[in-house]
Amino acid sequence: MHELSLARAIREIVEDEARARGFRRVLRLRLEIGAFAAVEKSALAFAFEAAMQGSPAEGAELEIIDLPGRAHCYDCGEEVELAGRLAPCPRCGGERLRPTGGDEMRVKDMEVA
């Protein structure tokens, strides 16, 4: 449900960039979304299309790049990549994992005209 808030925030970023850099249209926009970012990608794609109406990114293609979850394992002491919040440590099988990355939600770049 908060994906609509995210889409509106993306629209503000697009409009700020368009003003600052002087482009009129965004053809393609790439996001980076971490595995722990609490984002439902299909809901974000739906909200993106709706929220961009009347903005330079109306009709733009949206590409979402997945970033892995990362965590510190208290059992083996290593920084590891995790497939999901509940995945065990891929090195030692430990289940005491402190997330250290994977909550990213970024506009990476835009192809503009």
Partner: protein, 253 residues
């Protein structure tokens, strides 16, 4: 016009200035790829940082209370207000509709501002910033921000609080932390509420704690019944420690 966020009265906010050194348009750009590298919620995060600075300046300690609807946030808050008798405090209440919760808080003897989010599913830093302005907090206050009852969306929105506190009632199921891991992974403290009901619904409190630590090995856990008062003392002591540390930090500056 608001001085912190630049919004009109109740309208959309716009931060002024640009992070990339351009304050004006340079005319039509060359077509091509534009690197942006901007966090989607960067404006929320900027406003959250402003809230955090304002609260630090006051030596105020703030908690963002998150839970599913009906976990007992408001009941626990009313009990907390009574137990903190004499400590300056205020409450920001977030709900989609009604002023029921703010009314309950005021009846309990505390100042409260109600934010109605309409269809919105979470509080954001912009709403909370205005509520902080409206409350005109006295120095060394406790500030309770009761988020919209929702275990999903509030996880993404920093409000500028010192600590996120997740509230989970023992009627919700031991697997709730695993199902909604994001919110529990970002909380400093989890409060298991309604523990007086645990024997009536076969709740396994140790399983709740194990699942909370499974998604957040650093989380503190308390077992509380607002009805009987069990465990409320530990929660009050936790709040007083947080407030003491924060007001000392303010005195040192």
């Amino acid at each position: 016009m608001c001085t912190t966020c630049g919004c009109g009265d109740g309208g959309q906010f716009h931060l002024h200035g640009h992070t990339h050194g351009h304050s004006h348009s340079h005319g039509p750009a060359e077509p091509g790829l534009v690197a942006v590298e901007t966090a989607i919620l960067s404006k929320n995060d900027t406003l959250a940082a402003a809230n955090r600075r304002a609260l630090a300046g006051l030596g105020a300690f703030s908690v963002n209370l998150v839970s599913s609807p009906g976990a007992g946030k408001t009941t626990l808050l009313c009990k907390t207000i009574a137990a903190l008798n004499g400590t300056p405090l205020a409450v920001i209440e977030g709900d989609q509709q009604t002023t029921c919760d703010a009314d309950r808080i005021r009846e309990a003897g505390a100042r409260a501002v109600q934010i109605n989010t309409g269809k919105g599913c979470h509080l954001d830093a912009h709403m909370v910033g205005h509520a902080i302005d409206d409350l005109a907090l006295v120095p060394a206050s406790l500030l309770f921000i009761e988020n919209v009852g929702n275990l999903v969306c509030p996880a993404a929105f920093d409000l500028g609080e010192d600590a996120r506190v997740a509230i989970l009632s023992v009627t919700e199921g031991e697997d709730k932390p695993l199902k909604y891991a994001d919110i529990f992974a970002t909380a400093r403290l989890a409060i298991l509420t309604k523990i007086d009901l645990a024997p009536h619904c076969d709740a396994d409190l140790d399983a709740y704690e194990a699942n909370l630590r499974r998604v957040n090995p650093d989380i503190e856990v308390m077992r509380v019944s607002a009805k009987t008062g069990e465990g409320v003392g530990a929660w009050i002591a936790w709040l007083r420690r947080g407030l003491a540390a924060k007001s000392l930090g303010q005195a040192a500056e």
